[in-house]
Amino acid sequence: MSFLDASGMTGGYGSGADIIRDCTITVERGEIAVVVGPNGAGKSTAMKAVFGMLNLREGTVMLDGREITHLPPQERVNLGMGLVPQVRNIFVTMTVQENLEMGAFIRNDDFGDTMAQVFELFPVLKEKRHQPAGELSGGQRQQVAVGRALMTQPKLLMLDEPTAGVSPIVMDELFDRILEVARSGIAILMVEQNARQALEIADRGFVLVNGENRYTDSGRALLANPEVRRSFLGG
C-alpha cells in the first residue's frame, strides 16, 4: 500500500452534487505526485477531499496505513499532513518569521532546527524574516506559504497550484525547491495548472477529467503519451 492511498473518493461540497467520482490518488514517500486536468475537472476538490475538507460519500483515505477518512483537517495536520492553499495562504500582517512560527503552532518541541532548514531552503526568507509577509513579492509569498507548511515537519505536503500567478522564472525556481523537499523524504501531492512543467518533475501523474481519473502513470510516461499531449498539454 502507498504512503497516501486515497481510493474511490466520491463526493461534493455540503449536500451538493458530486464533484469527484471514484477518484483515486496515491503518493509514495519522497515522491512527487501531480494532479493535472482541464479547468473544472475537480483537481483542487480532489486535494481537499484528501485533506478532509469535503464530505466523502464513498471511498477511503489511508495515510501510512492508517484510515483517516473521517478525521477533521486539524487532526490530519497532527498526523503529518500539510496543506498550502492556493490563495490566502500566508498571514499578511505578520512577519515572515511569525508566519513560520504559526506553522509550527501545534509543535511543543523546539522548532529552531526546522526553521533553520526552511531558511536554508529559501535563503531570501531569512533575509526578510522581520518583514510583514504581505509586503513580499508573489514568488516570495509562495515560499513563505510552503515554508509555513513545512514547519509542522509534515510527512505529506500538499500544494494547491503553487505557481498560480508567478512568473516562469520564479516557477522554475519553486519547482526546484519542491524537488529538494521531496528528496528529503517528504511525499508531495501537487495540483497544477502548468501541466507540462509539473509533469516534468513528477514521479507520478494523475489526469482528472470531470472528477474522474482518466490517465494515471509516471510523469515521464504521461508526457510521452500522444493522447495526453494532444488533449491536455496543447500538442
Binding site: L83, T93, E98, M102
Partner: protein
C-alpha cells in the same frame, strides 16, 4: 509671561483632561477593535460591558471601604479592579457561550451578530439598573489632587493654575500600562500571536492547528479586562452613571474606525485623536486668546468652535470624514 499663562491655561483645560479622556476612549476602542478583529462584528453591547465591569468594581470598592481596607492616597477602586475584571470576564464568556457561539458555528452574517449584541445590550443594561440603579454613583476616594491650581500658582508665580487630579494621572498611567501589556501579549506570546494569526486569516489559522474556541475565549477575556478598566477609569475621572456608557459608545466606535478596524495601534491613535478633537473644538478660547493678544484686549465672544453640547458631533464628523476619505482608517483595517 503671558504666553506661559496661556499655555498653562490650555494645559489645564484642554491638554490634561483630553489626555485622560483619550486614554479612556483608547481602552474602550481597543476592546471594540479586538472583538472586530477576532469575531468580526460591531459589538453594540461593549458600552454595557464597560458599565457592568465598572459596576462590579464599585460594589467591591464599597465592600472594601466598609471593611476599612484602602490604598491610602490611591483610590480603593484599584484594589477592586481584579474582582471587577473577573466578573466582567465571566459575563463576557457567558454571552459568548450562550449567544454568539451559536452564530459563529452557523457562520452567520456579521450584522446578525450585531443584532444579537443589541439583545445582550438590553439584558446587561437591565441587570445593571436592577443591581446598582440608574443613578450617579460615587466611589472615588484617596487624594483628590496631585497638584492644585493654588499650589501651582504659588509655586510658579503665574496667574493661571494647573490642577492635576489624581484620577487623571492614574487613568493615564494605568492605560499606558495596560496597552504595553496588551502589545507585549500580542507581539511576544504564543497565544497573542495565535490571536493575530486568527484575525489575519481564519482559514489558515485553522490549518495551522490554532484552536478557534480558545482564541475567541482569550479575546473575550481581554475585552472584559479592557472594558472594566476603561469603565472604572471613566467613572473615577468623571462619574459613574449607566446611561453615559451608552452615549460613549459613539466616540468609541469613531475611534476604532478612525484608527482602522481590527488594528490595536489604530484604536489607541483613534482614541486620542477623537478626544483631542472633541476637547479642542469645544473649548472656549476667550481667555487663552486674551493672554496672547495685546494688553487689556479681550475677545468679545467665547471664541468656541462648537458648543460643548455638540461634543458628540465631533466624533460623528470625524467618523463621516474617515468613511468618505479613507474607509480603512489610518492604519489599514479590515473591510469585510
Amino acid at each position: 509671561m503671558d504666553i506661559l499663562n496661556a499655555l498653562v491655561l490650555f494645559a489645564n483645560f484642554v491638554f490634561v483632561p483630553a489626555t485622560a479622556y483619550g486614554a479612556q476612549l483608547a481602552l474602550g476602542a481597543l476592546g471594540v477593535t479586538l472583538i472586530y478583529g477576532i469575531l468580526r462584528f460591531a459589538n453594540f453591547a461593549h458600552g454595557e460591558l464597560m458599565a457592568f465591569g465598572a459596576m462590579a468594581v464599585i460594589l467591591c470598592t464599597w465592600t472594601l471601604q466598609d471593611m476599612g481596607i484602602n490604598l491610602g492616597p490611591l483610590p480603593t477602586a484599584l484594589l477592586a479592579l481584579p474582582v471587577g475584571i473577573f466578573v466582567a470576564a465571566i459575563m463576557a464568556l457567558l454571552t459568548d457561550r450562550y449567544v454568539f457561539r451559536f452564530y459563529r458555528l452557523k457562520k452567520s452574517d456579521p450584522i446578525v451578530f450585531s443584532i444579537a449584541s443589541v439583545g445582550v445590550m438590553f439584558v446587561m443594561a437591565g441587570l445593571i439598573r436592577v443591581i446598582i440603579g440608574p443613578d450617579d454613583q460615587s466611589f472615588a476616594d484617596g487624594a483628590r489632587f496631585i497638584i492644585t491650581a493654588r499650589e501651582f500658582r504659588e509655586m510658579t508665580g503665574l496667574r493661571e493654575g494647573l490642577a492635576i487630579r489624581q484620577t487623571q494621572v492614574i487613568t493615564i498611567v494605568v492605560a499606558l500600562l495596560v496597552m504595553a501589556l496588551l502589545f507585549w501579549f500580542l507581539q511576544k506570546t504564543r497565544s497573542g500571536k495565535a490571536m493575530r494569526a486568527y484575525s489575519d486569516n481564519e482559514d489558515l489559522a485553522l490549518l495551522s492547528g490554532i484552536d478557534p474556541d480558545r482564541v475567541v475565549r482569550i479575546a473575550w477575556i481581554i475585552t472584559a479586562v479592557l472594558a472594566t478598566i476603561a469603565g472604572t477609569l471613566y467613572g473615577l475621572d468623571k462619574t459613574y452613571k449607566p446611561f453615559i456608557f451608552q452615549q460613549i459608545l459613539l466616540p468609541i466606535f469613531a475611534s476604532a474606525i478612525l484608527g482602522g478596524v481590527g488594528q490595536p495601534v489604530g484604536a489607541i491613535l483613534g482614541g486620542f485623536l477623537v478626544a483631542y478633537s472633541e476637547v479642542t473644538l469645544t473649548y472656549a478660547y476667550k481667555k487663552f486668546l486674551a493672554y496672547l493678544g495685546p494688553e487689556g484686549w479681550v475677545p468679545d465672544s467665547l471664541m468656541q468652535f462648537l458648543s460643548t453640547d455638540y461634543k458628540f458631533a465631533v466624533s460623528f464628523i470625524i467618523l463621516v470624514a474617515v468613511l468618505l476619505v479613507r474607509p480603512t482608517g489610518i492604519i489599514r483595517g479590515k473591510v469585510i
